[in-house]
């Protein structure tokens, strides 16, 4: 009969109350942990995809849309830009690398991205099979895209016009798979990659004769730029925005803006989680205080049997701690299982792959705070029990 066994016996004695408190703490800490996991993974993913790109040049419009469409391939592009307009900036003194992107077609909702092999190198992509494209209409598949499309090397397919499913098929142009990438954990996994020229070829071939003269001028959707010097970050976007019809948007700024927007929602939910937990701990405190009233004879008898005041004090603290610890375990299970379920549920190529198989350092703080609150909740009852005049209780019995 150690402290824990005794405390457990008391918790078992009022199962409904115990269950309610466990659920409350579990829900509270679980919500906090789930949101921690999701927001961390989201921020991680956003930063990983944008890593290394200092600025994105594209058509004028919403800078966030430009970033979302060109880096995350999650939104529609702001428009196309003329290659001739982009070229001066791509060869600018401050620019180290400039990777062109030409969007416009898709296959089974997977985007066909016209680019240069540097785009693959930027994400440190390795080939699982085949090699990089050498001539137009040869494509390399990202790992996830290859899985979704179930195509092998040498097989061909036709892209559909537009970035969402249901577009008109470019029946004349057949893309041929020449390479398949290993998973990189970035957006690259979900793309069909080809030369910029492929996209031009498909569309020039396809365009109506009246638009032929426009088609003669090659177009890009966006250019992903890395600076030679960090100093460029201050002036380069301003130069682009002021001196041309183009727009320059810095991914870090836009990500920060986006996370701030998401963060408001996540923080609100986390506050709810914290309130849940606080209510749960108040409830534990009240339950223990009530139990103290019922258990004053038990306390007296334990003192008679040789228990010191300190033992009685620890026994009640132990009960609070045991509840808090069990509640936190439920919360951890709930949070991690929730993140895994969400990852499984949102398992389509365009979604983030959330996982619960991840341990964040912040979770230790949630655990410590909960255990601390568990002790705090039991503290007042424990002090009261400590002060109990046992002879008076026994005399009144």
């Amino acid at each position: 009969m150690n402290l824990f066994q005794l405390s457990w016996a008391y918790l078992r004695q009022r199962p409904l109350n115990t269950l309610l408190n466990l659920l409350l703490i579990g829900l509270g800490t679980g919500t906090i942990i789930l949101l921690l996991l999701l927001s961390t993974q989201l921020a991680d993913k956003l930063h990983r995809d944008a890593k290394g790109f200092d600025v994105v040049i594209g058509a004028k419009g919403s800078p966030l849309q430009l970033i979302l469409s060109s880096i995350y391939h999650a939104d529609l592009p702001t428009g196309n830009i003329a290659l001739s307009a982009a070229e001066p900036w791509m060869q600018h003194l401050w620019v180290k690398t400039a990777i062109p992107l030409a969007l416009g077609d898709s296959y089974q909702s997977l985007r066909i991205v016209g680019t240069t092999p540097e785009y693959l190198q930027h994400y440190h992509a390795q080939f699982a099979a085949g090699k990089v494209w050498e001539k137009p209409l040869e494509v390399v598949l990202g790992a996830q895209a290859a899985k979704t499309m179930q195509l092998k090397l040498g097989q061909t397919f036709s892209g559909a016009h537009g970035l969402s499913a249901g577009g008109e098929t470019h029946a004349q142009a057949h893309y041929q798979v020449v390479g398949i990438l290993q998973p990189t954990g970035t957006i690259l996994d979900q793309l069909i990659l080809t030369a910029v020229e492929s996209v031009w070829a498909v569309h020039e071939h396809h365009e109506h004769p009246t638009e032929a003269q426009h088609a003669a001028e090659h177009e890009l959707t966006a250019v992903l730029i890395t600076y030679k010097t960090p100093l460029a970050a201050i002036s380069f976007p301003r130069l682009v925005n002021a001196q041309s019809a183009l727009q320059a948007a810095a991914p870090p700024l836009e990500i920060a803006r986006l996370l701030k927007l998401i963060g408001v929602g996540a923080e609100t939910l986390q506050v709810f989680g914290a309130i849940f937990s606080l209510i749960a701990f108040c409830s534990i405190g009240v339950a223990l205080l009530n139990a103290l009233q019922e258990r004053r004879y038990d306390l007296a008898i334990m003192r008679t049997l040789g228990a010191s005041r300190a033992y009685i004090f620890w026994q009640l603290l132990c009960e609070g701690l045991l509840l808090a610890a069990s509640g936190v375990i439920i919360g951890l299970l709930f949070g991690h299982a929730g993140a895994s379920c969400l990852g499984w549920w949102m398992n389509d190529p365009h979604a983030l792959h959330f996982t619960g198989a991840l341990w964040l350092p912040q979770e230790s703080w949630v655990i410590l705070a909960s255990l601390g609150l568990g002790i705090a909740a039991a503290l007042i009852p424990a002090i009261q029990a400590y002060r109990t005049d046992l002879a008076r209780i026994l005399a009144n019995s």
Partner: protein
Amino acid sequence: MNTIGCFEKNDRPAKLALRSCYSITRILGNLMFVIDQLHFAYLANTVLEIPHWQMAQGERCLIVGASGSGKTTLLHLLAGLLTPQQGTLIVLGQDLAKLTPSAQDRFRGQKIGVVFQRLHLVAALNVLENLLLAQTLAQLPRDKARAIEVLTALNLQDFAEHYPAQLSQGQAQRVALARAIINRPQLILADEPSANLDDTNCSQMLDLLQQHAAQASLVIATHDQRVKNYFQGTRLLELSR
């Protein structure tokens, strides 16, 4: 002020002027307890005063008196649950007032068994766990075999897994007795052990007390005539208002 007088019947001649616990320990090593010039005021205007009272190891004694005469208070003093305001109280050669509170608790847990008027079994624990708790709280090693032995002796072996709420009054009373004797106390204090018991259970209870307290000293506080009759001829300490 309402003073309580103390009369001893069947008294023995030995009446020593005891001043220090050292001399007591030396001279009277075989005494269960010695009370000298004890004064304890409680409930504002009630005072328990005992000029002198002592008991040898293995002896039996009844504390009798009307309710409110201080029987329970005296038992609590003997158990070290209360500390005398004046005078000396030495149990098993130990001046309880000189022990630290936690040493008092340990002393009580290991040397003294208490049976209460109401049973006070811990409702959250089953019968066996109630007994094991008594071992833990007395800071004695966990000894399940001893617990089973005591339960068997009291014919409770089939109820080890039962919770107090599932026991009859008589069974619960026997469990309370089992808990009082499990640590082989040298002094057993019983406060109205026959209250709430019918005649059959009462005499069974007293039989068991008598039988299982064979090696221990036994002090019973009671105002129940059945108990007085049962222990006829036993030393009486009569408290009166």
